[in-house]
């Protein structure tokens, strides 16, 4: 099973590939993506990188609901269990 630490590493790598400017600070576990400066297009792009890097298909997801690292990780784990 994918650990939270592994997920964070993959997520941060995806962010580096998506964002043109590298973020100053690491994103907090419960920090809202929009507060961190990620918009809906960035998130769609990050999800695509996550799918490629993790070899999973992330089903249709409401990005307004899954709006932090914690929530996205929980969503992926739940989806894998289903």
């Amino acid at each position: 099973m994918l650990s939270k630490g592994e997920f964070r590493a993959v997520f941060e790598k995806a962010m580096q590939q998506v964002l043109t400017k590298a973020p100053q600070n690491p994103i907090g576990d419960s920090e809202d993506f929009s507060d961190y400066g990620l918009d809906s297009l960035d998130l769609i792009n990050i999800l695509l990188h996550l799918e490629n890097d993790l070899g999973v298909q992330i089903e249709e997801v409401d990005l307004a609901e899954v709006n932090s690292l914690d929530k996205l990780y929980a969503y992926l784990i739940e989806q894998r269990q289903d």
């Binding site: 918009d39 297009l41 769609i44 792009n45 999800l47 695509l48 799918e51 249709e60």
Partner: protein, 313 residues
């Protein structure tokens, strides 16, 4: 040899200011200008029809070239928003409005963003196979007919425009081998709902499709034409959004100046987006241009245009 001789366009003067709608759609000005990239969206006037936009594009072409309508042997109109309900075909109505000769072949082609590449090849092959010398390819897909004003996913993207490409045996650009592809399983990703008759788009699905298929398709097209990516001077990619163009350029490791985003004031004009850009390279353009269209269908097509000796003169 049949190819592109000239291109002209019609972009309606009426337009929507996207930045003035930031608050309505809960988007920042930066998101609209830097990510979506479309600041203004042209809208055809009320009472105007798809065929009228084609006529206006033809008039612009005539002004540039002095083309005699009596010389036109074949007309293709690429649209998925035809006059009325599509019966009769819009090309027939254009034929009437332009007073073209009776022995002119006319047909509509129902394709979206891949339409220009498809239709250019259809028209060139049709003309070559039947000994024709002069044909017209119109692109005109006024999405304003089917936009849902409340749906920011589509309402902030699409603009109305029409283009007219003169295809002849005296071309400035010839078409090298093109590649075509379809994923019918994705046909629901961009469609007009039969219930609402309004456009809907799965934004994430379309983004994923684009990023997964288009770079690979471009590389395949280069391979079948025996070209290296460095040998292409310009990449004219369907102007789906600035974000998509920027990301395709990054994925292909291309310098941004080789992959222009030129639709800030036009929006996503579907099959018109490639000829709208290409028209500015007719007078004096680079030797090798790659063009790729992708979207509705899901359908995608990539082709390479090579400047001819006539174009160099």
């Amino acid at each position: 040899m049949i190819g592109i001789q000239d291109i002209a366009s019609f972009v309606p003067q009426s337009r929507v200011d996207n930045l003035a709608r930031c608050e309505q759609f809960h988007k920042s000005r930066d998101f609209i200008s830097q990510k979506i990239g479309f600041v203004f969206l042209p809208r055809m006037d009320k009472g105007m029809e798809t065929s009228d936009m084609c006529v206006r594009a033809f008039e612009a072409l005539q002004q540039k070239t002095g083309l005699d309508p009596q010389m036109v042997e074949c007309v293709i109109v690429c649209t998925q928003n035809p006059d009325g309900f599509g019966l009769p075909h819009t090309a027939s109505i254009v034929h009437d409005k332009l007073c073209l000769p009776t022995d002119t072949a006319t047909l509509d082609v129902s394709l979206g963003c891949s339409g220009y590449i498809y239709c250019l090849n259809l028209l060139s092959s049709f003309m070559a196979g039947n000994g024709m010398r002069t044909g017209l390819l119109f692109t005109a897909d006024p999405y304003s007919k089917v936009l849902d004003p409340q749906d920011y996913v589509t309402e902030l993207l699409f603009g109305d425009a029409a283009t007219c490409t003169l295809v002849s045996d005296d071309p400035v650009y010839s078409c090298m081998r093109a590649l075509f592809a379809t994923d019918g399983k994705g046909h629901r990703a961009i469609r007009v709902s039969p219930n609402t008759r309004k456009l809907s788009m799965d934004g994430r699905g379309v983004f994923n499709f684009t990023m997964r298929t288009v770079p690979r398709h471009i590389l395949e097209c280069l391979k079948v034409n025996g070209l290296r990516i460095e040998e292409v001077d310009l990449f004219l990619l369907h102007q789906a959004s600035k974000y998509i163009i920027d990301n395709l350029a990054r994925q292909l490791r291309l310098p941004p100046e080789k992959v222009p985003f030129a639709a800030a004031e036009n929006g996503n004009t579907v099959s018109s987006s490639i000829p709208l850009m290409l028209q500015s390279y007719i007078e004096a353009g680079p030797r090798t241009i790659l063009a790729s269209g992708f979207g509705v269908g899901l359908s995608w097509a990539t082709s390479i245009f090579r400047r001819t000796a006539q174009g160099e003169r």
